[in-house]
């Protein structure tokens, strides 16, 4: 286990460095400087600005400066939001985004696993068809279609819930964003759980348990649930990435002042450091969470460690 854990942790570092390098190179090979405006600046002023942001140094020098900053949690200054550093902007918006993402993830797991289980245990019935059908809708219809349609129906037509972040109380303005963000993941998790549960219920050890006269409920509880949940664990990585991507849309549609909204603003305003900073931050987060999932997987399934 220790060897497996060490290998995984060491493997994550080059991945992270690669992403940072790609993101950094992309931004720095952009045509035109970040301070190009309609009005031409005096050459002295331009040189001073470049010196202040270290843009006069060579690319390797700038990259090593950026990496050193990263180690101290410094993502550089924002080019557009004056007087703020990128780290301050992310830090301020992060608690809200984490709450949104964590709630959506929790909902996705609970709803997805239960729906998948029920469908698997009642396979080929109406319930099963219903779950698989709805799951297909969840997979096919993107978040940015579901979220506005939800606003249209529940806020504009029915007037049950607030349409934007400024209305309603803390609980009911969070409701729609969390559901919209969770829906695609509920669909994927339900499909995955169903398939894996059907597989497990057809396996030899379940048949043996049945032959011993165990009831379906105790078979599921004591024998089937654990092996059926393993594929789900390996889906957690993509699920986390999916929720992060979706949160950008959801925050935009519902006007939630989270990290995703800063990302979009930054992208539309060409705030290079902000967009670079958030990309690096997200990549780090995803790689870190994936590492945890990997370690957990190795811990739960001894067969994985050998590889």
């Amino acid at each position: 286990m220790l060897r497996y854990a060490t290998l995984r942790i060491l493997g994550a570092i080059p991945t992270l460095l690669l992403v940072i390098a790609i993101a950094f190179l992309m931004v720095h090979s952009a045509p035109g400087g970040p301070f190009d405006r309609e009005r031409v600046l005096a050459p002295e002023v331009e040189r001073n600005i470049e010196r202040a942001y270290h843009l006069d140094e060579s690319l390797p020098e700038q990259f090593s400066r950026y990496l050193q900053g990263l180690l101290h949690g410094d993502l550089g200054p924002s080019y557009r939001y004056r007087d703020y550093t990128v780290a301050e902007l992310i830090g301020g918006a992060l608690p809200l985004s984490i709450r949104l993402g964590a709630l959506a993830m929790a909902l996705a797991l609970v709803a997805g696993v239960s729906a998948g289980m029920v469908a698997a245990l009642r396979k080929n019935t109406i319930i099963d068809r219903l779950v698989t059908g709805i799951a297909m809708i969840g997979i096919s219809v993107p978040v940015f279609v579901i979220a506005p349609l939800m606003v249209l129906v529940f806020a504009v037509f029915l007037n049950w819930l607030p349409a934007s972040w400024t209305g309603g109380n803390a609980a009911n303005r969070m409701l729609m964003p969390v559901i919209a963000l969770a829906l695609p993941q509920i669909a994927y998790i339900a499909r995955l759980t169903r398939a894996s549960m059907i597989n497990v219920m057809n396996s030899d050890f379940v048949r043996t348990a049945r032959a011993q006269g165990l009831s379906t409920i105790s078979i599921v509880r004591y024998h089937a649930i654990k092996p059926a949940m393993l594929p789900l664990l390996s889906y957690m990585g993509p699920a986390i990435a999916g929720v992060l991507t979706g949160s950008v849309v959801v925050e935009e549609v519902f006007g939630i002042p989270g990290v995703g909204q800063f990302f979009i603003r930054g992208a539309l305003n060409r705030d290079y450091t902000l967009v670079l900073g958030i990309t690096v931050f997200y990549a780090t987060l995803v790689i870190f969470l994936n590492l945890i999932v990997d370690l957990l997987y190795g811990f739960l399934d001894p067969r994985i460690r050998g590889r």
Binding site: G11, T15, M26, P148, G237, V253, T279, A283
Partner: protein, 284 residues
């Protein structure tokens, strides 16, 4: 994972092939409408009509889907959007197909350490939030139409590479490969002329599963205003525009959103069905 995983192989094959036929037919109809519709429709996608802003869907003037905030005909804009969306999907899939098949076939055929390193790289890339890198690319290099296609294609090749590698490994010990090697065909020659043609079935299945992903990424970017730019449009851009006017003119949101969902539906069902048709015995 498929719809019919609980059925017997034969029943699954029959159901799946029926589903494939229906999906192909529907998609062909959409493609035909997107390509031929603008030629038959008297309203083009660009003419503004300020007397007729936010016009409701009506038969008069042939504004079947109504008009948008500038009085442009939504019907022809939706057709154009579908055209752009399908176009992006095809180009992006071809790009991911090219990268994925060559990478996967090379890794699988060469094997050993090279294979291990190449697949570790795929594992590592698998976990990345690629969409963010694509957005970064869009920010750094103007919103270039072609760049969107290539970028989307470049992020979707990982699955393809994995599948192709697996198939290649099972193919490379077959007699015809030994025979080719015996008469002195080079490694690239064997990969391109003997392995790749045999990958066709699997590749087609996974390509149909890649297309909806490519559509999703493109419409996601366009929705955020980072993809296809005015006066060109895509379904994602139309949905985004519909959101900003949904209280006054809900059809601006509902119609493009339904068309987009419909296309994605068809592709997802098609991919699922094809997987069962190609390999009905495979579990789950």
């Amino acid at each position: 994972m498929s719809m019919f995983s609980s059925l017997s192989p034969v029943a699954r094959y029959i159901r799946a092939s029926r589903m494939v036929a229906v999906c192909v037919l529907l998609l062909l109809l959409v493609a035909l409408a997107a390509l031929a519709g603008p030629l038959l429709n008297p309203n083009d996608y660009i003419t503004t009509d300020f007397a007729n802003r936010f016009g409701q869907p009506t038969m008069t003037n042939l504004h079947f889907f109504g008009t948008d905030e500038l009085g442009r005909d939504l019907f022809s804009r939706t057709l154009l959007g579908a055209q752009v969306t399908l176009f992006v999907a095809v180009i992006a899939s071809v790009v991911s197909l090219g990268i994925g098949v060559i990478y996967g076939a090379a890794a699988g055929f060469i094997g050993g350490k090279v294979d291990a390193i190449m697949m570790r790289a795929v594992d590592a890339l698998y976990a990345l939030p690629f969409v963010f890198l694509v957005i970064l690319l869009m920010v750094a290099f103007e919103r270039n139409f072609l760049l969107i296609f290539v970028a989307i294609g470049a992020i979707n090749w990982l699955d393809m590479a994995r599948i192709v590698r697996g198939q290649t490994i099972s193919l490379k010990h077959r007699e015809f490969v030994d025979a080719a090697r015996l008469i002195g065909v080079s490694t690239p020659g064997i990969i391109f002329r003997h392995i790749m043609p045999n990958l066709f079935g699997v590749v087609v299945v996974y390509m149909t599963l890649t297309i909806p992903q490519a559509i999703l990424v493109e419409s996601f970017l366009s929705f955020l205003g980072l993809g296809v730019q005015e006066p060109q449009t895509s379904l994602g851009a139309l949905v985004s525009n519909g959101v900003s006017h949904m209280e006054r003119a809900p059809w601006l949101l509902i119609i493009p959103a339904s068309v987009l969902a419909f296309i994605l539906f068809c592709f997802n069902f098609l991919g699922d069905g094809l997987r069962d048709v190609v390999d009905p015995k495979k579990k789950a």
